[in-house]
């Protein structure tokens, strides 16, 4: 298969970026999107130029490292996949494909398609955990958890922290990411003691990091490779309201 690629190139964080055009030739239809870029990069290297930089690691949809906004959609148009799981057989021969970084103020560009998502780590650091000193845990079966509750927590815990939700949102809001973490931890018995402080801290850090407000567009849900439901945002709003009232009263 053959494609024309229009790719965002930016040599460093402070440089100005621009779209460059590349021809991807003789791409096997079984190749993944990133393997297609590998092939293009081999040609670029052979011609003596700097290859297109993009993030990736596991290449099986679980580490959350790969990004890329493909034809305007984070991780591309196919549902419930990451860029690394996208295969070229889903494109048409001869297609022109636009490839851009995940764009958001809180995700500064490092180079080309690589962005800095450490703001997500700082949100987790502010409260996205259950404090349990190693060795002080009770027997694992001492806390039975009803299967539906465990399943709900799991659905939220499936977040891979890729940032597609932020890149898809016109406000660059991180509510799906933060909501997923809150829904994972706030509704488990183990997570109760720190529920309020966790919620307040994560939301405040999110704001401080420069993420925008949620205006209920739900683009985030549509692009999430792990199909995390926007219900977690409603839950987060409720948890936040309760915690904020309690804080004001005390």
């Amino acid at each position: 298969m053959n494609f024309t690629l229009k790719v965002w190139r930016q040599p460093n964080p402070s440089a100005e970026g621009k779209i460059e055009v590349y021809e991807a030739k003789d791409i096997p239809s079984e190749a993944s999107f990133l393997e297609m870029l590998d092939i293009v990069n081999t040609d670029i290297i052979d011609s003596g130029s700097d290859p297109i930089h993009f993030d990736h690691d596991c290449r099986e949809g679980i580490c959350g490292m790969c990004s890329l906004t493909i034809n305007g959609v984070p991780h591309g148009k196919e549902n419930a996949v990451t860029t690394c799981q996208l295969h070229m057989r889903k494109f048409r021969d001869g297609d022109t494909i636009f490839i851009e970084p995940f764009r958001a103020m809180a995700f500064p560009i490092v180079k080309d398609l690589v962005v800095d998502r450490s703001s997500f780590d700082r949100i987790i650091a502010s409260g996205g955990y259950i404090s349990v000193r190693t060795g002080s845990a009770v027997d694992a079966n001492a806390i039975p958890i009803a299967k539906p509750d465990a399943d709900d927590a799991f659905d939220a815990a499936a977040c891979i922290g890729c940032g597609a939700c932020v890149a898809a949102c016109k406000n660059a809001s991180a509510m799906l990411f933060v909501g997923a973490k809150a829904a994972h931890l706030n509704h488990l018995p183990q997570g109760q003691p720190e529920k309020d402080s966790r919620t307040l801290a994560m939301v405040r850090t999110m704001d401080a990091e420069g993420f925008g407000n949620c205006t209920n567009q739900y683009e985030c849900e549509a692009v999430c490779p792990k199909t995390i439901s926007a219900d977690v945002i409603a839950k987060l709003n409720r948890d936040y309201a309760v915690a904020a009232v309690k804080e004001a009263v005390s």
């Binding site: 079984e30 800095d116 998502r117 987790i124 190693t134 845990a137």
Partner: protein, 649 residues
């Protein structure tokens, strides 16, 4: 003491194997809380092993610096583990116990691991599950709200805890959250997108590292009272593997060049259930969790003719009558059947394909068939158990496994070998500690399913916090500073090497060398090894090295993000490391676990160990690139298990 006296003292505590860990803890040195704050520790790696160690050491009061090459500690390769983690809880009341897990692991490792370590691992397994549940790790549960278990390759009890097909992810997120909490409290300073390029020794003790900031290219020095490497396995020496693209041997191999011994590098695990290779553009292989083997049946046609017809698309699986199918694992290993250990399952698949009975277009693939299970349990049950795996398979292969059998083939997956460590997880280099897949210690010649996650977390949460003080108690904290001449020298080595790489300006891409090396070692030091093949590899590797250092092309500059430069450094070390691996495979004139030497097999093709000659750990000392490394031995003594022919029939 299980050491041969010359240099390798494994420091195994006294007493019966079941009491050793308790005895150790009863007598171990402690560091008082006020003093802990004065000690600094470097942890390289933020996977299950490094992340759990960094978080726990910080909780205890040490000043920790943690490093990883990804953009977040949460993305370490541990995240990719699918199947599960073992814990000897016996919640299923099916006869499990710490002793049984210990025994299964020793036997699974083909009697080439250190008894004392394995017993400790089995003991810690129980606490790991408690710890993770308390952190909020959402393990699978029964309707009554209690934890569910399943059985996993090589075990006859159900002791595996799992979180859908994302066990590694969920465990790592638990660990990452604990780590982030410590980062927030100031106990851990985290360095992401930062690669360790060398180890610094001061008076022969590991006291620091030299790193490169991958974003800016800046080289910097870090000093500490002890260094911990938890940098994962070296499976990517084969180029194609189920590892993440960035997995590498650099940190371990740099340590090796500074004097740390590399133990049993030839013990590599080839996983039986991966999606077959389809073309040479391919950048990695995808594992399908072997939990699939609980319900899937593995087969190939009995005749070559049928297999050829399938490859050519003239027949499909359903056209092959039941009687014309060879369920070869069930036939050869009636009591374990499709659950036979990984090495055995992988080799059987290779055998079938070598006989011309492979079913994928390349001839390298066998069927994994769910039609019986779907008939027996219904599609819904199968979907509930394996839904995400089936989906993943369909995405990659374009085929629907509910309707047609999957095709699978073995692929490189895990590396049992690694840096040599004693019972305290300290290498022969004083102060250097090695955890997780990067060390050699617990899996012998073959790792059983669901035991790597267990080992990583045991090492980080429970072992190193107890054993690190053995070393630190003899040290005066804070005496090391980065302006010492040893740091100058190490930094110079690092910058010289980068400059040398950048100045080659040759004509071939880094990947082209990596692929060439990978094909060679897969061919000669993969599922089956021979003296002739290994010698051939040892002749060819120096030529690859020479070509690499003369002709590699790295575009761009070293003062910013340059992924080709990163890869080049890793591939350069893989080339040198591959030599050590082949030397080890050549030296070990027996077959055991993942190391199958064709010259050493029984008439029925089973691996033949030579316990009288080879019941030892091979620990290799680097002697310069291209030079044969120097062998040191740690004799293995078995006090509580009897060495037997590993039979799964």
């Amino acid at each position: 003491m299980s050491s041969n006296g010359d240099t390798l003292d494994s420091k195994i505590p006294a007493g019966p194997v079941a009491d050793k860990w308790t005895n150790f803890k009863d007598k171990a040195k402690l560091i008082n809380p006020a003093n802990k704050r004065k000690f600094s520790v470097i942890v390289v790696g933020s996977g299950l092993a490094g992340g759990s160690a960094a978080a726990t050491l910080s909780e205890l009061g040490y000043q920790v610096k943690c490093f990883c090459y990804q953009d977040s500690p949460r993305r370490a390769h541990s995240i990719a583990a699918q199947g599960g983690i073992n814990g000897a809880k016996n919640y299923q009341n099916d006869g499990d116990s710490v002793h049984r897990l210990f025994y299964d692991t020793i036997k699974g490792g083909d009697f080439r691991s250190r008894e004392a370590n394995v017993h400790r691992l089995a003991e810690c397994s129980v606490n790991i599950i408690d710890q993770c549940v308390a952190q909020g790790v959402p393990f699978a549960r029964e309707y009554g709200g209690l934890l569910a278990n399943r059985s996993f390759g090589g075990a006859q009890v159900s002791r595996t805890f799992y979180a859908r097909g994302q066990t590694g992810q969920q465990l790592l997120i638990g660990c990452y959250q604990a780590l982030e909490k410590e980062i927030d409290s100031g106990g851990v300073e985290m360095f992401t997108r930062t690669e360790m390029l060398d180890l610094v020794l001061v008076n022969d003790h590991a006291k620091g590292i030299i790193v490169r900031d991958l974003k800016t290219g800046e080289i910097s020095r870090h000093a500490a009272d002890a260094v911990i490497l938890a940098t994962g396995g070296y499976g990517n020496v084969f180029y194609l593997s189920t590892n993440a693209m960035g997995c590498n041997v650099m940190a371990s191999f740099r340590a090796c060049k500074r004097g740390a011994y590399m133990a049993n590098p030839c013990y590599t695990q080839i996983h039986p259930t991966c999606i077959p290779v389809s073309g040479d553009y391919q950048s990695k292989l995808t594992l399908m969790s072997e939990s699939l083997r609980n319900d899937g049946r593995i087969w190939v046609p009995k005749t070559k003719e049928d297999a050829a017809a399938i490859r050519e698309g003239k027949k499909t699986a359903v056209d092959i009558a039941e009687d014309d199918r060879d369920y070869y694992l069930e036939r050869k290993y009636p009591s374990f059947g499709n659950l036979a250990p990984r090495d055995i399952s992988s080799r059987s698949a290779k055998e079938a394909c070598d006989e011309g009975r492979g079913v994928s277009t390349t001839g390298l693939g066998v069927f994994l068939d769910f039609s019986d299970a779907i008939e027996r349990l219904g599609e819904d049950t199968i979907r509930a158990r394996y839904g995400n795996l089936f989906q993943m398979y369909e995405k990659i292969s374009g085929e629907n496994p509910y309707q047609v059998p999957m095709k699978i083939y073995p692929a490189v997956h895990y590396t049992m070998g690694g840096l040599w460590v004693d019972y305290n997880l300290m290498s022969n280099l004083k102060g250097l500690h090695v955890l997780g897949e990067a060390n050699f210690s617990d899996h012998g010649a073959n790792r059983l399913g669901a035991s790597a996650l267990m080992q990583g977390l045991a090492d980080g949460y429970f072992v190193i916090p107890a054993t690190l003080p053995v070393y630190l108690a003899e040290e005066t904290p804070g005496t090391i500073t980065t302006d010492m001449p040893e740091f100058d020298a190490a930094e110079k080595d690092v910058t010289d090497r980068i400059e040398k790489l950048m100045n080659i300006k040759g004509s071939r891409s880094v990947d082209s060398f990596h692929r060439e090396l990978g094909l060679l070692v897969w061919d000669k030091c993969g599922m089956e090894r021979t003296e002739e093949g290994l010698k051939e590899a040892l002749e060819k590797i120096p030529a690859i090295r020479k070509a690499f250092w003369e002709d590699v092309r790295i575009p761009g500059t070293a003062d910013g993000l340059n992924m080709e430069l990163e890869k080049a450094g890793r591939v350069a070390d893989f080339i040198d490391f591959a030599e050590v691996m082949c030397h080890d495979a050549l030296d070990r004139e027996e077959s055991c676990g993942g190391h199958f030497r064709a010259e050493h097999q029984f008439d029925d093709g089973e691996a033949k160990r030579h316990d009288d000659e080879f019941t030892y750990v091979s620990a290799w000392e680097h002697a310069g690139a291209g030079e044969k490394p120097i062998l040191h031995k740690e004799m293995l003594e078995f006090e509580s298990v009897e060495l037997s022919v590993r039979s799964y029939k």
